[in-house]
């Protein structure tokens, strides 16, 4: 066995294996592109899962500035919900809740809210808030 053959076998093949493993590990993240997966640089379009029943919600979110005034604003009342299909605008709500790290169960007695709609939501719904 010549020196070149030995170099190819004992250095080239391990190097090829290392490169192959690296490519297999990196491929999924490279396929995703440079889109940041979270944080302030997030620029992706909002996405809904659970369609087609979420169509009403998607429409409601798209029209939330138009439907504040109720059914007369032109939104289809049949498209969503048992709550008059009103999605409130959050810009005018004060006293935003501050959360620390970790999870918080959000029962009716724990959710500081200001508007009557939020009062109703906090009483009727449950759930939790988690930060990461």
């Amino acid at each position: 066995m010549s020196t070149l053959e030995g170099l190819l076998i004992f250095a080239g093949i391990p190097l090829l294996i290392v490169v192959a493993i690296t490519v297999m590990v990196m491929a999924p993240s490279l396929a995703r592109g440079n889109q940041p997966r979270s944080g302030s640089n997030w620029k992706a379009e909002p996405e809904w899962f659970g369609a087609p029943r979420a169509v009403g919600a998607r429409e409601a979110m798209a029209n939330r500035h138009q439907i504040e005034s109720g059914p007369a604003a032109g939104h289809n009342p049949a498209s969503a919900g048992d709550h008059d299909n009103v999605v409130s605008d959050d810009h005018g709500v004060t006293g935003a809740r501050r959360r620390g790290a970790g999870a918080t169960a959000m029962g009716a007695e724990q959710a500081p809210v200001t508007s009557s709609q939020d009062d109703s939501d906090s009483e009727q719904t449950g759930g939790a808030s988690v930060r990461w």
């Binding site: 919600a57 959050d90 935003a96 939501d121 759930g127 988690v130």
Partner: protein, 129 residues
């Protein structure tokens, strides 16, 4: 995947499948929304939950990648059987994946955990003697 998409088609398929499985297992409606909140993320989640087809029987998961928050809203009927503290614990299951930037794995973990929680309780007692 285009620059404006948060998920690849495969990831979307995985999440859709997890939702279908969760709905089949629990009998509840599951919705997942990933996007920026309008103001407070909790209120945004409530707004989204109000707008779904059957809010009382629904579980809505709202992920705000900008604020790094995950909100779970359970409807009135769901709340009768699913404790908020358990929902909070289920929400924690996504933390490791989300911190690594893997929204899909995190969402799958949360959906599966919530489906288990919302599953109807099987009584050991029957009417027949």
């Amino acid at each position: 995947m285009s620059a404006g998409d948060a998920f690849t088609p495969i990831e979307r398929h995985e999440i859709d499948k997890a939702i279908r499985d969760a709905e089949r297992l629990s009998g509840r409606d599951f919705y997942v929304h990933v996007g920026r909140s309008t103001g407070d993320s909790r209120r945004t989640a409530w707004s989204l939950h109000r707008a779904v087809a059957r809010p009382a029987n629904s579980i809505l998961i709202h992920v705000d990648p900008t604020a790094r928050t995950l909100e779970v809203v359970t409807g009135a009927d769901v709340r009768e059987t699913v404790d908020d503290r358990h929902v909070a614990l289920a929400g924690l299951s996504m933390q490791t994946a989300f911190e690594a930037g893997d929204l899909t794995r995190g969402l799958l973990a949360v959906i599966q955990q919530l489906a288990q929680l919302a599953r109807p309780v099987q009584s050991l007692h029957t009417d027949t003697p």
